[in-house]
């Protein structure tokens, strides 16, 4: 691997995985560059975990390939596994082991030994804040500590890539904030891919979102890019003070006959004395000023004009609902 900062660390191409007749993942392709924090977002059962399990060489794909740091996961599973640290869903841990022994065990299987293992273990424990529980039996840990210990396990060999499956599930709000900021810190020096079904989580920790739904990618980009993509031809909302009987129909007819709006409909407001209309531009141009002209020509009382940019929450819902 070169040290080129923009080199590709994870390359997924045309990945498919079927469980019997059910296609869990279908022709998924994306790549992750060095240093990126990528959020893998989708509703439960969308295929996130399946993708991660293939990336970590736990299961084999039905078709397609995954390359980690330039190596195919099918051809060089051992080398690939050394490149990443993995936090599986639900942070599995050996309940009967002392936390220190557990980390030393994983470290040893990662090829660390002797002084290197002890210093690395101490550094990681400090990093994720588990120094206090190193002597505790893992089965007695709180969910938050358990998650941290499992994260420490993923970091023990100082990997270039971190793969985290639902890292904050089951934590209380304070713990969620702590783990998120920890991930963000860790992401400043390595490539991170994390899966989640919680949008705000991905928004605060990740530079980039990949939204997956029913086994396929439905969106890929930074939050701003996604908003931009979805914002082509956003509807214009015009709010007016309501008039006499039949006012609404009159307004709709006036906007329609002005010619710039392809679609005009009244929206429900729920406030007495106010009415709202949604206008969609015929050719994609910004029609706010022309709408205002129509309002002025008719002498209606204008309360508000705005473009209805969909927020990322709405975008997520729209992409993942059918």
């Amino acid at each position: 691997m070169t040290d080129n900062p923009s080199s590709t660390m994870i390359e997924v191409s045309n990945l498919s995985k079927s469980y019997g007749p059910i296609e869990a993942v279908s022709k998924v392709s994306f790549s992750v560059k060095r240093g990126e924090i990528v959020g893998f977002l989708g509703p439960n059962g969308a295929g996130k975990t399946t993708c991660l399990k293939i990336m970590t060489c736990f299961i084999a794909p039905s078709a397609g390939s995954v390359k980690i740091a330039g190596m195919d996961v099918q051809e060089k599973p051992r080398e690939v596994r050394q490149k990443f640290g993995y936090l599986p869903e639900n942070a599995p841990i050996y309940g009967d082991m002392i936390v220190y022994d557990y980390l030393a065990y994983v470290g040893a299987l990662r090829g660390l030994s002797g002084k290197k293992l002890t210093t690395q273990l101490a550094a990681v424990a400090e990093r994720v804040g588990i120094g206090r529980v190193l002597g505790q039996v893992a089965g007695t840990l709180s969910k938050g500590y358990r998650q941290r210990v499992c994260l420490a396990q993923a970091l023990i060999h100082d990997p270039e890539i971190l793969i985290l499956d639902e890292p904050t599930v089951g934590l209380d709000p304070n713990q969620v904030v702590e783990i998120r900021s920890l991930i963000k810190q860790l992401g400043s020096e390595r490539t991170v891919i994390l899966s989640s079904h919680i949008l705000p989580e991905v928004l605060v920790t990740c530079d980039r979102l990949i939204i997956i739904h029913r086994g396929g990618i439905v969106a890929d980009g930074t939050p701003a890019q996604l908003q931009e993509q979805m914002a082509t031809n956003p509807p214009v909302i015009v709010r007016l003070a309501s008039g006499a009987n039949g006012f609404e129909e009159k307004v709709v007819r006036a906007f329609e006959s002005a010619g710039f709006a392809g679609q005009v409909r009244q929206k429900h407001v729920g406030l007495a004395g106010e009415v709202e209309f949604e206008l969609v531009s015929r050719d994609g141009a910004d029609i706010r000023s022309r709408a205002v002209e129509v309002v002025g020509a008719n002498g209606w009382k204008l309360l508000e004009v705005r473009r209805d940019l969909m927020d990322i929450e709405g975008l997520f819902r729209r992409l993942t609902q059918e």
Partner: protein, 238 residues
Amino acid sequence: MRNVWVMGKKEFVSYFSSPIAYVAITVFLVIVGLKFFVVDQFFETGEASLRSFFSLVPAFFVFYLPAIAMRLVSEEKRMGTFELLATLPVSDAEIVLGKFLGALGFLVVTLALTLAYPVVLLALGEPDVGAMSGGYLGLVLIGATFLSIGIMCSAWTNSQIVAYILGAVLSSLFFFMDRLLGAFWEGARRVAEYASFDSHFNNFTRGVLDTRDIVFFVTVTAICLVVAAFSINSRRWN
């Protein structure tokens, strides 16, 4: 190989970090002791031999060792730690060998605790040292074979109970095969005798070290471990 050692050590230690190991070993020693001293009346018969010991222990192993092996893979699958283990840079064969090594260590400890019997015999009379050492070697070999069957069954399921039942059933089929089959089908007797663990084991206790018996147990053990490794690997294709 280092990974096998690391995993074997972890499994070995984890046996002794729960009370189950101590309970299991105690039960084993008490039953063996009762049979040796009370049922077979060691002091009354006045014979310096371990024959009664060697006749009981393999039959006891049929039900004891599947319990020692049952959790090795199934529990990891149930707890989800298996996913962690299998995504570390270790191969499926190493996982199986590591688990086998840990369980074998437990078996050796169990057997070592019975060395009091030969020591007593040597103090009291003139036992056949060849037959005794052969018997112990036979116990390690037949025990290793039962453990490998247990690990194989453990790799097939994520339930310890299912793993135990499968392991005990398979082990007893192999162990009692000659008596079972031979009882109602004379023609199969010779085949059954060859495949039966019991008949191979009995050669050891007579002090006869036949390569064929050693090869038999080593081969069955190897086959079971290979099947276990393939079973672990099959998750990738399901």
